[in-house]
Symmetry: C2
Subunit: 572 residues, 2 copies
């Protein structure tokens, strides 16, 4: 079980800071994840990987020379927000465009996709290649639906080696897709992992049993059997994979790079006992083994499981697989250590441009800044109360987290105002600062809210009721998709969605910015949520409340909406 | 728990073969462990590390350029035999002498010590430096009694970097001793590990509690408390270590290399969360941090625990710590990959010399060869029966293991005879072959028996009752010390010791080689052991029966003694 943590909702963020502290020669923290702290060749493609945290060395441990340029790091087992992905990609971008590559999970597909759109809008060429190596997660007919597991590594490695060698974005995309086509994995599990602070494991496999094809987050497997011997397991894994050799590869004489991966508590000696037999079986099948990897390469906290990956090589893939790499958790070959980036200079290069805005939008931006000031006053005045509410079902730090986030957001918004930003840009500065400084899911969610509203307002138009209403509704949808919460889960979604609906109804009726009416609806929703608080208690495992501190979040959102009423009324 | 294995008694050996299969570019299997598969600079000191298996990457994962030259690998949590250490050191020796360095455990101290004597006898300069970093295992006044834990790494690394740079054996010894003096560790544990096939963990810590100073094999700790937060644990570990800074190091401005080590199931993200705080605390204390290591560097199968090591650097130690290394589990800096050894040529270089022997001893060697032939016939004739007996309390493979070992021993003995070996050398050839080919503890024990008798017989003298009796008694003592079994544990010790005593009594009375009388005593002892077999059953955990398949071993030893009676009588 996972025993050592502080505030469970800060676990992923604290781990991110720790991995950077342990590897300053390779990693640099940027909002949303990490990038290399060494200089890459200008003009080369940046390979940006990522996904939920809890899978170390995926993903931050695979950033460094010869492997990824950056990793977007979400909360535990949760996709990073599109903002996090965007921020990391922006920092990793090196003039040659960006490849986003990651395991095929719905949340990741959505948020990396949104980030890609934002990058392209800013003129940064960006493509996506999904990893789909897990043969037990869908049939060959639906190969595109398969999940990505330890085969992530072969795709990341091949694409990154190609990028390092100066390939264009189109070439890197082709390499990544071909590496994915040539990669197949099969996994088994013996027990699930425990999230920090949870009373029990995320899932269980009955004692003495082995689940075949169980996903690394507990996604359903295909069957169950008794725990076999190490040799029997090796035989099972090899047989499954030899049964599905990718098209066009004659089995005899083929070259493979095997990866025998432990998920967390299947330890090294066990892996070596199994690998001993895997090695013999692959040789017996007439295969040539190229640079195998045996160890913990994609974990799931303390999950008990193991997977075998075969990467079927041709000359090009073999060259890319053998290419040197130097990351916190993955090294091969002789790497000449690259020049360290100067953090100050690097930060400067990350300075955001402010796109041109209309006079009307700059005025609107001024109004938004006032709204943020009121928001900060409201949060400051109620921080203790929010902490108290949060302590009922959460960790009691909601007030502190909100304060940290909104003060950072206000500061960034003032900078944007001073630089003549329009409403969208000002909200985007504020959103990034909030998500970055508040940390955790709650910070990311407020980033999503501000970004969504900003995108609806734009940098050119004056305030308009329909656009504002549409922005609030988009914020509701995006928060649900990001935080995995549905309406009725007693989270801030229960306030945000009816608030947006009410705004939209009124706007459709031509009632202007009907903030006051909608604010009443929001407050009713928050009260309904708050009433339930004592009944909810601390019983729900963290996994179910992936919004971090959701219930207090509903209350704080409704407070903020109410506090903004006089301001918004005044511009009605 | 450890779930994946075949025959539990073969687990360590199969893991050894697996780690070599996974890392052929770095490791080569030799009898008793592994050595580098790359060429080292001739004339440099060889650093040989080792200890029980179950601690990967200690010890095979730390063999390679810039780190150790070889690792002697015992059974799970059991010291390697002196023969294994000798064999690995012999293979690793590079013309500059050998440093044996390992954690301070009684079994290791004994067997590495015996190996050292044997190496020196053969003209190979050899020294020992013990690692004693665990501050909770003894007081500062008894610092030499402290155990070695994750601080192994700093001593191995500093000594190996010095050896790589061409230091003499005396210089490497001085570096290793100074690195040990400058290294302090403190560990905590949350639960014990499970040996393959055992029904329960080797030890437990009560749920929700943390044991301070608990050893990596469950050696008693110093106190127990509730599991703290990650930050509180960081504070505890740092405070303990800052409380015992090695002599002569002013705290402010000092340089340290921290190692935050996970024992097996405290996973990476937890380690990074803790390290984040450790890093801040060390900086707050005015220390400069040099190349920290955070990860799994010395494990104990699936033990839940963590330790912090501080290596207090001066200029020399910092240079050695920063030096490049390239091993299966430990890499830093830019390493030019060294030339691969040609396995055939390497095997040739390992060919053993046959020391000169007297005519009398060569004749005696002929008699020993006949004894080995009888031994082989006896084992072959009774292999099925031995398997059946072993199946009662063991894994049923005792017959097969004995056959594998004794046939290899006979073949090696014939080669020695053809090369004019004396009795000691012939038995030593046979012993090494048996231990190497039979594998497991039972093979190692027969190696100890044959070596002990050989050493008593020598290469110069004719057969003599006292010397033979002394050899058998030495075999009994050495087996007890190696296998951790005592008289009365119902193992082959219960046969070997009374047999030796009887021989000694008779020899003291001038009764010549009183084999027949002693053989009767041995048989009675074996019968007493065998009678208990059905009562012993499979209940005893593997850890308690560290002799592997002890009960069947008592029976086979007595069979062999009985079968030898006509031969030994004839030379009476």
């Amino acid at each position: 079980m996972t025993r050592l943590f502080n505030d469970p909702s800060e676990f992923a963020e604290e781990a991110r800071l720790g991995v950077v502290a342990a590897h300053p020669d390779k990693l640099m923290a940027v909002p949303g994840g990490v990038v290399r702290s060494t200089r890459s060749k200008p003009g080369t493609v940046a390979v940006v990987i990522g996904g939920g945290s809890g899978h170390y060395p995926a993903f931050s441990g695979l950033v460094g020379q010869g492997l990824a340029h950056g990793a977007a790091m979400g909360n535990l087992f949760s996709s990073p927000s599109s903002q996090q992905v965007y921020s990391v990609a922006k920092a990793a971008h090196n003039g040659g465009g960006v490849l986003l590559t990651f395991g095929n999970y719905a949340g990741d597909v959505l948020h990396f996709g949104q980030a890609r759109e934002r990058l392209i809008k800013e003129g940064i060429p960006c493509e996506i290649v999904l990893v789909t190596d897990d043969i037990s997660s869908a049939s060959l007919e639906e190969i595109e639906k398969r999940r990505g597991i330890a085969g992530d590594l072969t795709v990341f490695k091949a694409a990154s080696a190609a990028a390092e060698a100066g390939a264009t974005l189109a070439e890197v995309v082709a390499v990544a897709a071909e590496a994915n086509r040539r990669t197949r994995s099969f996994g088994v599990a013996f027990d699930g992992c425990t999230l920090p602070g949870a009373g029990d494991a995320l899932f269980h496999v009955p004692a003495g049993r082995m689940a075949l094809g169980l996903g690394i987050h507990g996604e359903p497997g295909i069957s169950e059997q008794e725990v076999p011997t190490a040799d029997q397991l090796a035989e099972l894994l090899v047989a499954r994979l030899l049964d599905e050799v990718p098209d066009g590869i004659p089995l005899n004489g083929a070259r493979v790079a095997p990866i025998l991966n432990g998920l967390g508590t299947v330890k090294y000696e066990e892996l070596f006992v199994i690998y001993r037999r895997v090695d013999a079986l692959l040789r017996d099948a007439g295969l040539t083994i190229v640079e195998p990897d045996v160890g913990e390469l994609v974990t799931s906290l303390d999950m008990a499981g193991v997977s075998l990956t075969l990467f079927w090589l041709d000359d090009e893939m073999e060259t890319l697989w053998r290419a040197p790499a130097n990351t916190p958790a993955y090294r091969k070959g002789s790497v000449m250590v690259a020049e360290a980036l100067d953090p100050a200079e690097f930060q400067q290069s990350l300075e955001r441009e402010v796109p041109g805005a209309s006079e009307a939008s700059r005025q609107l931006a001024g109004g938004v800044l006032k709204a943020l000031e009121i928001l900060v006053e409201t949060v400051d005045a109620n921080a203790d109360e929010l902490g108290r509410i949060d302590a009922v079902a959460g960790d009691g730090d909601h007030g502190i987290g909100m304060q940290r986030g909104c003060h950072a957001a206000l500061e960034a918004a003032r900078e944007a105002r001073d630089r003549q930003a329009g409403a969208e840009t000002l909200l985007s500065f504020a959103a990034d600062a909030w998500a970055d400084r508040a940390g955790g899911t709650s910070g990311a969610i407020w980033g999503v809210i501000l970004t969504s509203i900003g995108e609806a307002l734009g940098d050119q138009q004056p305030l308009n009721a329909q656009r504002l209403a549409a922005g609030v509704s988009a914020a509701g949808s995006n928060v649900m998709s990001f935080g995995k919460a549905r309406l009725g889960d007693k989270t801030l979604v229960d306030v945000l969605v009816p608030f947006g609906e009410c705004l939209n109804e009124q706007a459709a009726q031509g009632s202007g910015v009907a903030w006051q009416i909608a604010a009443q609806r929001a407050q009713q929703a928050a009260e309904a949520t708050a009433e339930l608080l004592p009944k909810v208690g601390r019983a729900r495992p963290l996994a179910e409340k992936s919004l971090g501190t959701p219930d207090a979040g509903a209350v704080s959102l409704s407070m903020i909406i109410r506090a903004l009423t006089p301001l918004i009324k005044s511009c009605d």
